[in-house]
Amino acid sequence: MHSEPDIVVIGAGPAGMAAATLASSGGARVALLDEQDGPGGQIWRSITAAPEARLQTLGPDYAAGLRVARDFAASGAEHIGRATVWQVTREGVVNYLHAGVSCSLRAKRVILCSGAMERPFPIPGWTLPGVMTAGAAQILLKSADTVPTQPAVLAGCGPLLYLLAWQYVRAGVSIAAIIDTTDASDYRRAMPHLPRAVMAWPYLQKGLALLRVLRRKGVPFFKGATQLSIEGHDAAQAIRFTSGGKSHRLQTELILLHQGVVPNTQFTWALRAPHSWDTAQLCWRPDVDELGRLQDVDQVLVAGDGRGIGGASAASIQGRLAALAALQDLALISTDKARPQIDAARSELQRHLRIRPFLDALYRPKDANRIPADDVLVCRCEEVTAGSIRDFVKLGCSGPNQTKSFGRCGMGPCQGRLCGLTVTELIADARKALPEDVGYYRIRPPIKPITLAELSSTRDN
């Protein structure tokens, strides 16, 4: 690298683009590293390459990413796409792979904007071909105009599930059924949060409008679904569930699962930063201050869904807050000048977060779909069942790390991303302990696979 950047931003979603844009216009030399070709993250995936018809299908919230991407492109921040970051150190060194070559940057500040991933959905048959996440199906639509050929079944709960259904309706794709796990107890839990959510009216309005379209189009809807299980030998053939006191079996070769998103915390865990268990969102969040400064790690900040799920608008504000903090640290903006901007962003953030307690309560994923029965695979990579993990606990296994030596749980290529939350909650349940006492896997770099040949091909030295 010819000149080292002041700030490295990781991730080109709403938080990353906002952080890079503001930091760059504030006078910092900024490099933004991202795994995709173009900017957008998952929510605005392929936004700069989207033809008009696709923008129409995906709706205005998707198209809103265009302006953000344009501002980012004009900001002067360097965008390094197809970069796979495999290590961030506490000293601000960022190691990544680019075109098969290992590269390294050293920054004064690193802003992690690694976003969210879909929560694991461990039910019988979830590893079969023909089962994927709703987010995966949406990425196929966003990045490749690719949609199900046969009517698909959508199952689970949460805004993304209904949004995908709405987008499919607009694309002319038929939906076999939406199997919704939300039941009356969820509405009761959410009700106390409704007054606050009403203050975030645009969000509620959008959600209600979307559900109305699905109803009007006559998409079959099963409410309060329990006992979900997918049948098939080499591929999915049917889904079974109970709804309205009756058991159902729908024949289908494509099942799209979703039960919310959770912060992608691989980097912050690998940095050995402290994390807390969020009892409302049922996931870990890194401990950060209000600007996103990571506790105990001076040179690293976190913005966006990676510090707790807040959605795209909140992420973008957090990106700006982190950029302001970094600019202050680098003495590129005075405290006096930063203060009013920070205050304005903070109150804007509060407005956007008002809807969250309601959504978190209403779409709280069911215990049975997070802490599965004994025969369900929890660790997809090493094929470890919930029953095996309960057996490990009986033998004295007290936390996720020990499941590795008991049965290779979490040691496959996904490095615990698809089983970590389940393992924490499962052990906590079996031990009658709190997730915080059980802890999480010890995540180590490289957090993405890199060959020795790639590692030895460094461009920098």
Binding site: G135, I139, L140, D145, C414
Partner: protein, 111 residues
């Protein structure tokens, strides 16, 4: 799978196509999309078998976190198909069980 699970929307603006092979079979796929999207759109679902039990697996997350789309690309095993864009002449193979590191060929025609 009796029919393709996925296909490209009929109204989609047709971009240029590139040729790749999957397990030796020629596929013409839209340029600029990921290997996993291209294979799903051309009728493939199962891209690998698990190294533990040999169970069939297919792309699950499409965003680089689940590693279920691991395939061999131009002789290099363990590539994340959902993160790599298709290139003309690319040779993709399903990854059966454990990656055969010992038999790994020199990556050729690497731009």
């Amino acid at each position: 799978m009796t029919t393709n699970a996925f296909s490209v929307l009929p109204g989609a603006v047709s971009t240029s196509l590139v040729n790749l092979t999957f397990n030796g079979q020629l596929r013409r796929v839209p340029a600029g999309i990921s290997v996993a999207a291209a294979l799903l759109g051309s009728g493939e679902m199962r891209l690998r078998s698990s190294p533990v039990s040999g169970a069939p697996r297919a792309p699950y997350c499409m965003m680089g976190v689940c590693f279920e789309c691991l395939v061999e690309i131009d002789g290099v095993p363990n590539r994340q198909g959902c993160l790599i864009s298709v290139q003309d002449g690319m040779q993709v193979r399903s990854q059966e069980g454990r990656a055969q590191l010992a038999q790994q060929q020199e990556p050729h025609e690497h731009a």
